[in-house]
Symmetry: none
Subunit: 402 residues, 2 copies
């Protein structure tokens, strides 16, 4: 596989142009019946349809045909980082999801409160799905644990879920989960799977020793298991590989976290598309590239609520004129994956995508939807190539070779 | 990345069939307005359209989506050599462009005459764009420089541009440019960027020492800078990897040079499509594969002259019956990249391509143009796979595996 970033480092040029990457999470969908329309095709989207008539449409494959991505790989692909090369551990994703600013010396861990019986065996792997109200104070207690030479953070996430971060030089993340994935047995010890991670395993063991003492009277949450132990991945910064100064406008912390992983600046997005568009306008002159994230198409898809996903797409459509009023040199509308209401989950289906710029080979599309994208000028392409197209359309890539 | 040539070496067979690869340089274009036609779609091309009805159409991606290729990478891709693996340096391309027959022990350099002031600083990086008439005799003087153990060639190109070739065993091309890219400073010394290129750097230094003495009274061209110092790339010969005896018919030296890089035979093409077609006929029995290059679609695109590009495509169309009269088993019509008049430059847009043979899965196309190519049977494909299709359609590839 060719190294795309070796190429973009060589070819990048700064012509002052502006690119907006508008990601509607889980945008792609499915018709409920043969002959039916998808969510996007069902929605009334006069603004997106008007853009489609001056755009190139296509379908983006997030990872590989048939592979359903999580949010992490889905976004890394859109940002042009091969999601099969750059991997984001569960603990890291959980930390990103609560806006925890991971540093280069951090190991992040997803914790689950659990219930131990008198014999020390796990009787409930989720501590009776303890309420957030009850769990949060336990996290505060654990946050006070001291381990010499290590900075330690414990943060509540939701119900029985928490995030633990160890910060110290020389920590590696190759330590096995301590959740045995069944009840009636004791939790596992943290075991290093390679020599470089022995220190992390030792720290985790000491952390669990103290936690067991602190939580002993807090049944059903009288202990915890550790999962997805991992370092922050080493990802070359977006600005270095593409030569664009980039900012993220995302309402949900997870997506700010993903943008932070590639070293975008994180702007205060407010709580809605309206505030996102306002902040886009306010910051227009300060950046070359804007990642704008819209969550609700995915949420509605996950809920299997076709009518709501349609309504959310229409809400997105209504924001288009505000973005176009800023006259971006290149606008891309896409998703990180499909989330068909019919499946109530992320899926592998390729994602409707549109590039709007002055250098489009207008493909005769009349509306933005899966069927027209399949016939569009971009064809079917790998998500990790989208940034190349974005930069090309914005005039930000020199010719390759003479 | 799979090694295509390992496969073609294994599967090639000689069934005596004939293939013509007709490359219309910069063929792909753009509509000027949404809903408009491209140059190719605007041209009246009855012959190409008739072929399209017995062909498979598609769009070729020269390098990667969004990557605009120069002529070198564009043609290497069409010849089936991965343009990200085989790189052609500036000096090599410049030497190819004047029909210089580079050998395996050659290092080629692009030279620029420059003006040095009394302090030895560069006051003009292009020697006042000295005329070719004035520059050519200077090149003849430099061509007489003697360096022990090295054969040396200096050739005038155009105005302030020249080519220098060092020929000796053990020369490598990893030497930095001596052009400081600004005025008011002295030219740089040639510095080897790796140990194996020290000899080349030493030869370059001695060459510049003598050149400074020879040119000292020739202001404004009283010195020169060296750029794009590089060896001829090691490219496996076309005949060895594909099993076809191949000939090139190109009016412009650059394209003869690119064909020479992959060890095609270079035939005298004359000065027009007419003479190219005559020579094609004369040499028909002597070769299996013919690369026929038509330059003017690119030139018109670079000039932004839509009407002229249309006219040049129509000129190409008129030559089709002469080629078809020879009854090639496979004819391919394509380009090395797009050169949209709208952009007045090479671009990344995929290139309209057509394969004509008896084994086509006729795709219902009615005319040769970008939109029909987008819907065609070849789909969107990487240029480096085109030779596989050419050989397959000509019956020149065995089955892979039992």
């Amino acid at each position: 596989m060719s190294d795309i970033h070796a190429l973009t480092r060589q070819l990048q040029k700064d012509n002052g142009s502006k690119i907006v990457l508008l990601v509607s999470d889980g945008l792609g969908g499915l018709p409920l019946e043969p002959g039916g329309l998808t969510e996007l095709e069902s929605a009334k989207t006069p603004n997106l349809d008007k853009l489609a008539q001056q755009a190139e449409l296509g379908l983006s494959t997030p990872v590989l045909p048939g592979i359903t991505p999580g949010s992490g790989p889905g976004h890394l692909g859109l940002f042009g980082y091969d999601p099969l090369e750059y991997k984001i551990g569960r603990g890291v994703l959980e930390a990103l999801g609560i806006d925890f600013d991971l540093g280069p010396n951090d190991v992040a861990i997803r914790g689950n409160y659990c219930t131990l019986d008198a014999a020390g065996n796990i009787s409930d792997r989720r501590a009776g799905r303890i309420s957030s109200e009850a769990a949060a104070p336990l996290c505060e207690k654990l946050d006070k644990i001291k381990i010499p030479g290590v900075e330690l953070f414990v943060r509540h996430v939701q119900e029985y879920r928490l995030v633990i971060v160890f910060r110290a030089a020389g920590l590696q993340g190759d330590v096995a989960d301590t959740d045995p994935q069944k009840t009636g047995v004791p939790p596992l010890d943290p075991v290093a799977r390679s020599a470089g991670s022995q220190k992390t395993a030792d720290v985790a063991r000491e952390f669990l020793r103290q936690a067991r003492e602190i939580l002993k009277n807090d049944a059903p949450a009288n202990f915890l298991t550790l999962r997805g132990i991992d370092c922050k991945p080493q990802i070359p910064p977006f600005q270095e590989v593409y030569g664009t100064k980039a900012a993220a406008l995302a309402v949900y912390p997870m997506y700010r976290g993903l943008a932070r992983l590639v070293s975008m600046d994180i702007l205060d997005a407010g709580q809605s598309l309206d505030t996102q568009c306002e902040r886009l306008k306010e910051n227009w002159e300060k950046y070359d590239f804007f990642f704008v994230h819209f969550k609700y198409t995915d949420s509605a898809g996950e809920d299997g609520n076709f009518a709501r996903k349609v309504a959310k797409i229409e809400e997105l459509d209504a924001a288009i004129p505000k973005i176009m009023a800023l006259k971006p040199d290149t606008l891309i509308v896409t998703g990180d994956h499909s989330t068909p209401c019919k499946m109530k989950s992320h899926s592998w289906h390729p994602v409707p995508t549109m590039i709007v710029s002055d250098n489009c080979r207008y493909d005769g599309s009349t509306a933005f939807g899966e069927k027209q994208c399949r016939m569009g000028g971009l064809g079917m392409f790998e998500a990790r190539h989208l940034m190349l197209l974005a930069l090309a359309h914005a005039g930000r890539l020199e010719k390759y070779g003479a």
